[in-house]
Symmetry: D2
Subunit: 373 residues, 4 copies
């Protein structure tokens, strides 16, 4: 029931404000005897951290993670794993502008309406800084997935497939390209065009949105829990909970609405190894809320950064009309740094469902009979 | 943790298979002293029930609801409300075709992979018949919303805004039109064109998808619970959990990705009554996961019905390649009957969040009424 | 978060009032492919049902259970199991006495204070009739335990060890005796004395309390989840939730407070089979919230039946002083019929913990190494 | 579902091991705008901290709490409150004895059986050090109770009512005495006798148990949530989850089993102020799981400290028989320091139920305050 907790069996609870002393999370329910070191987590945090190119905020947050509990002699013990990142670049800033004014597109107004109080420094709890802890928890989830699936080489990867109005050519998709440009773009040529485009956006003091695609491969069929714990239900919740996300889709997504039944049906054949194979993956790897064994494919849309240099009309806490310009160091496209966050959320959903599946359907219950048995 | 339960404080648990003796749900956490009669629920069930036009399945399910507990002398008592609908039109059917074969696009294969057993009759638990109980529970949620918000005239309405590839003209939007055509279409002219289109689809033994828009008006600001219980997070989960849904978006949704920061910012002014008003609603009524007081707007995409008369290739439980034709009485566009289901899910999310908000941010406990008061 | 649901992974939700049309429950999370028939459940309900001796209420409730969902061709499918018992002996009774008056020791006053409304017929939701559904759900839990523990012959049994002020001689303990007398007493001689005692209580229009002991044998070590999901924590909650229970203890229980550290330590040796054995079981089979493999032993105290024929002073809803006599057919010692309820609650806790353990520590995780490995 | 989390709406999650860098907790769901400072929490921690008399462990842990989030300008904001205590007195100790051996009465054996790994330093996660965070979270809960109940002067106090086999004279009960002796004993004369008794126990290298009584006064009727979220159910779980607790009882508790129905009935009269008053409180302030408005009274039994200087027989991880002496600085009676822990758990249960009650039965949402109000 906590709204600061995600997951059922593999779960994490985050805490912390943008300009408090630290942010952190507690990962709870992790299986024991999984090798885990800070470096396993830091690797993923480094992909998200700010200041890595001129296209992301110039704040300098090293985002160094510390493990405070739950690991003994390099192995998880099954007890809660407390992770913390100290906040170091909290520029002593003048908040006289945003304290009394509601920035359009931000959570300022709604937090005030809900709680009657808000830590306005840097967005407080509603800052995207919170997503660092998702990436940290997601790194632990990946370790669970590696350990938990027999013979499984599971991979969870994401890429930016649209920046502002500009998409990619899927024929150029190359996963190796993703980490070779500052946008996590899988199409090298699109990345070049985006560089120019985003320069223009940045110089204009404007911002743009993005679409991210997350792909999980190597999953067994059977993960997911109908009716209200469907795999796609939980992926939708996971992605929509990320700051600035306004839409989520699975497989063919919104385009499926325009297809005919026969176009949309993923026909099934028997592969050379005797296992079923699907001729297409309109379903995005999920049927009836349960994984089919095909790649799980999700996309989510991120709105343009609300913090822009162009003045916008707004009101104050005192009910006065005014306008506001959001100065400071902001990402012109927050969608970029949402890429590792999307991966993390997918890992977290899958680790949770792995454990949920094991609870209800795992050994020593008779294993699911293979086809033809 | 139950995957058959939705909601945290106002919650419901559904049970039942398409061809079992009955389907039902338990609504738990409902506030006491809310007037509730079977007719309040039946009204909404009747909008969803099959056989109302040639465009929906010709099964005859009166879908008559019975209240079995939790209501005393016409009022809720605060104890669990058990609702049941007897299944009456379970045609004794020949299942020799679908029992051993996996229908493409259906949950047959994945249920078998997960559980090693499946009630194949009419889709069993994965049948959209389950959504009748969502509509029933949603009717109770509406009553909570009516009672729970001071002076509030909350309305939750939905409409079909796209059928197959065919959209509507938003300039023609008329809520009164929605119940005046068999498609819940708000644009009377589009409805006429859709009639022809869907006739063609049906005669061809094919099917089509749809997009549904759900709008909640009259909400106060402040509902929603960051970070992982955001209002949009829960709406995304609610809609994605509906059978055949492949995408969900809030406000500008996926289109927001292509807007600039200044286009997407909903500027704020002070209205004549001293309350803030927004110049636009790109946010869909939600900022930082909390309601702004503007209309909450969500859309979801439904894939084309998987049960079609055109033969599709598939495999059997024995690992043999085969093909399948899904005979029987099916909706050519399951999106139509998803309209009242979308409304119900929105009501359920909002009722839950109303109670969650009251728990954390509500006034001190009312003093105990003295006896005899 | 539902207060009508018990359990985390293996969970059940009960509904229904004493004098409504039916009572029921939904068992959710049950593993698939477990053989289950109504007779498996009925057997346990029959041990609890009223009217079996002159020492229990003379109401005639056959308490016939129906399975409405979740079972297909004699096997569980992994979907929710809806169980229902129709209420048949709702004597059309004159409630003019208890409707406006608060019966001392009953929940009348508190339900009214909480909800401002109450179904007073037969106690409504607060009636011990609800415990029939616990026994039904517990019967399903037993099946899970039988299937879920490798090589395990788990047994869960309970007995009445104190009636009013009268205990038993533990030297006479014989499990076979338990079902051979109307009190579930394991000491045949005590049972004889209790017969006389309870006759006197009943004739005097009075009532008495009882203490029940529940023993689970055949459990593996390792079940239980520190810190707040300890096995003993959940057993305490389970037993305390039973109507009229006022105390719960594990192993040596309250007597442990008076022991010295050396008396209370259960020393450990290596048995002939190489497994550790404990010299005593003061811990009641649980250390640090986790099962040791010894028998799990819990006891709970049931207060005397509050419905008695002797007049008691009370007040009305209108704030008037008055007195009340509770007529009708009541158990002079409700503790007797609590015996199968205690067994059921133990089974429910253990089945839940079995699944929880499997989720976090189960295969394909490396199995716990045996001692000496 | 987390076993490291307690509470539903007002909830806290603890983390940390005895000899890790720190222990901490996240308090989630706290209402906003409650004044909170570290001193509010430290006050209660100081009552629990070790080394305050010769009767508790001589470890020197200042147990200084830091608030890391969720408080802004001295007020709670409604976001998660992270509390941390650095571990400072982790004597670099020789663990060669307890690492491979299972201490009788400790969780060593069961943690190893469950997880296959255990942080043996100082008991790791199973150390009573974890209870410091309960006291910290409980201090926040007290603030919620003060704010949440209109006109309410709620008090939660506890006392030691039995040490080893030695009880108190209830006629001497004086709450002021409780903090005037090292045992939290309410009977000054008993405290003197206990001093001699415990000296003897300590010098003998032995230990003893205790019984603690917790009393909450000033509660309104109506708190509690039948059937499985009863107030007494949650109190039982709360107390049983404390380290070394083996029994819990409410009101007359186990003694109720020996009473007659008429002795046990708390008769009701109308007081001078027009409110009902009860002639006795056998029920311990709870009927049907809901508070009556009388004082809520709970007692729990703590077993004797398992760490004693007398050698006990045990086995090693390698399956060898051996014996063990637990050296080090241990409380001869852990029950003493359990007194503030019992108070904290009571406060936590009540704060949670206050919020749960408000969610279901509270008044309509307060209208949104207009801007500038």
């Amino acid at each position: 029931m906590s709204s600061n907790t995600f997951g059922q069996l593999f779960r994490f609870t985050t805490w912390g404000e943008s300009h408090g002393p630290a942010i952190g999370c507690v990962v709870d329910g992790c299986p024991p005897r999984i090798p885990l070191a800070e470096a396993d987590i830091q690797h993923h945090l480094d992909r998200r951290k700010p200041g890595q190119s001129k296209y992301t905020t110039q704040r300098r947050e090293p985002d160094t993670v510390e493990i405070q509990s739950g690991v003994f002699e390099g192995m998880t013990t099954g007890t809660p794993i407390s992770l913390v990142i100290r906040n170091v670049d909290q520029r002593s800033k003048d908040y006289s502008d945003i304290a009394p004014k509601f920035r359009p597109g931000h959570a300022d107004y709604t937090y005030d309406m809900k709680y009657g109080i808000r830590d306005y420094r840097g967005g407080g709890r509603s800052s995207a800084r919170e997503t660092a802890m998702r990436v940290a928890a997601g790194a632990v989830a990946r370790k669970v997935l590696e350990t938990g699936i027999e013979g499984g080489a599971i991979s969870i990867r994401a890429a930016l497939v649209q920046m502002g109005p500009h998409g990619i050519d899927r024929g150029n998709w190359n996963w190796d390209t993703v980490d070779a440009n500052p946008f996590f773009c899988p199409d090298a040529r699109a990345a070049e065009r985006w560089a120019d485009y985003l320069d223009g956006v940045r110089k204009a003091g404007s911002s743009c949105g993005a679409v991210i695609e997350v792909v999980a491969e190597g999953l067994p069929p059977g993960l997911g829990a109908p009716i209200y714990g469907k795999l796609d239900t939980d992926i939708a919740a996971a992605m929509m909970s990320i700051n600035a996300v306004k839409g989520v889709e699975i497989g063919a997504g919104f385009e499926a609405a325009a297809l005919s039944g026969e176009e949309n049906a993923d026909e099934i054949r028997i592969g050379n190894d005797g296992h079923p194979i699907f001729r297409s993956n309109k379903a995005g790897g999920i049927l009836g809320g349960i994984s089919t064994g095909q790649p799980v494919v999700a996309r989510f849309a991120v709105k343009p950064t609300s913090s822009i240099l162009k003045p916008r009309e707004t009101v104050t806490r005192d009910g006065e009309e005014t306008e506001i310009v959001t100065k400071g160091r902001h990402d012109p496209c927050v969608g970029i740094r949402a890429v590792p966050v999307g991966e993390a959320m997918m890992a977290l959903v899958l680790a949770d469902h792995l454990m949920r599946h094991r609870a209800q359907c795992g050994a020593p219950l008779p294993p699911t009979p293979p086809l033809g048995a």
